[in-house]
């Protein structure tokens, strides 16, 4: 399937474009539909296309599983941190106005950071889910082998 010249060349052309498109959705959440969640999924889709064509092992060399776990946690922590920063500076949770003197800039900074956290978490979690699904076959075969010759 992936020893397919046409598919490989076209995918190689498309993967950077898909990832950039994901980031475009990420940072234009205020201006057009989208935001962190959709952006994360599209960005992860670029990585998944790479994993489909070049194999999961090569894809994990690009973004290691360990990095995914760390980034997934970091995204949530970023979200919580920005949210709590508002509380610490005298507002409510996810209240951005106290962060900066100008309310508009504060709102923009807050939304961009929070959405970035969401995007990072969603992208890495989608990649992790894919990794675990793709691993299932080899894991299952290992279990079967152990059962047949102990």
């Amino acid at each position: 399937m992936s020893d397919n010249g046409i598919l490989r060349v076209v995918a190689r052309f498309l993967i950077p474009l898909i990832m950039l498109f994901g980031l475009y959705i990420q940072f234009h959440g205020e201006y057009s539909p989208g935001g962190g969640f959709q952006a994360g999924v599209v960005f992860a889709a670029g990585w998944i296309l790479f994993a489909l064509i070049y194999g999961l092992d090569n894809a994990l060399k690009v973004i290691s599983q360990r990095a995914m776990y760390i980034l997934a946690a970091a995204g949530v922590l970023l979200y919580a941190f920005v949210g709590l920063l508002g509380v610490a500076m005298g507002g409510r949770f996810l209240d951005f106005y106290p962060l900066l003197p100008s309310p508009h800039a504060a709102q923009q900074l807050g939304i961009i950071t929070v959405e970035f956290g969401v995007g990072v978490t969603v992208a890495t979690v989608v990649m992790l889910i894919y990794t675990m699904f793709a691993r299932r076959k080899s894991e299952w075969e290992a279990v079967l082998r152990e059962d047949s010759d102990p």
């Binding site: 399937m1 046409i6 598919l7 076209v10 052309f13 498309l14």
Partner: protein, 117 residues
């Protein structure tokens, strides 16, 4: 005057695009086997898409929307033949035999059994 002309041109493009889509859909149902159906899907994926996108581009004039329509058309023209080819290749490697002209032709209603469960 010019505006009306462009409008009419865009209507013609849109309607023919839709018509080709339906023709491709009918072909998808009528053609006898998998490989011939690929050609029918080719009609809907190329001319139908090209005509409709050009028709829509004429509607919006020169704007960011038009640029995005061009991007959609480019993505479609890159991806659909690739997907079609990947499918055809997968079917060939899987041993799905095409019905060829020199073989006795089965009637379209009589469908072949699935090659693999």
């Amino acid at each position: 005057m010019m505006a009306i002309f462009i409008d009419i041109l865009s209507w013609v493009l849109l309607i023919t695009g839709g018509a080709f889509g339906v023709i491709g859909g009918i072909g998808l149902l009528r053609f006898p086997d998998f490989y011939t159906r690929l050609h029918a899907s080719g009609i809907t994926d190329t001319l139908c898409a090209v005509l409709i996108v050009f028709g829509l581009m004429l509607q919006s004039g020169l704007s960011l929307l038009t640029l995005k329509m061009v991007l959609i058309l480019l993505f479609l023209l890159f991806t659909t033949p690739t997907a079609t080819h990947a499918l055809a290749r997968a079917a060939v490697l899987d041993g799905l035999e095409p019905k060829l002209a020199d073989q006795p032709q089965a009637s379209p209603s009589e469908e072949e059994p699935p090659s693999k469960p």
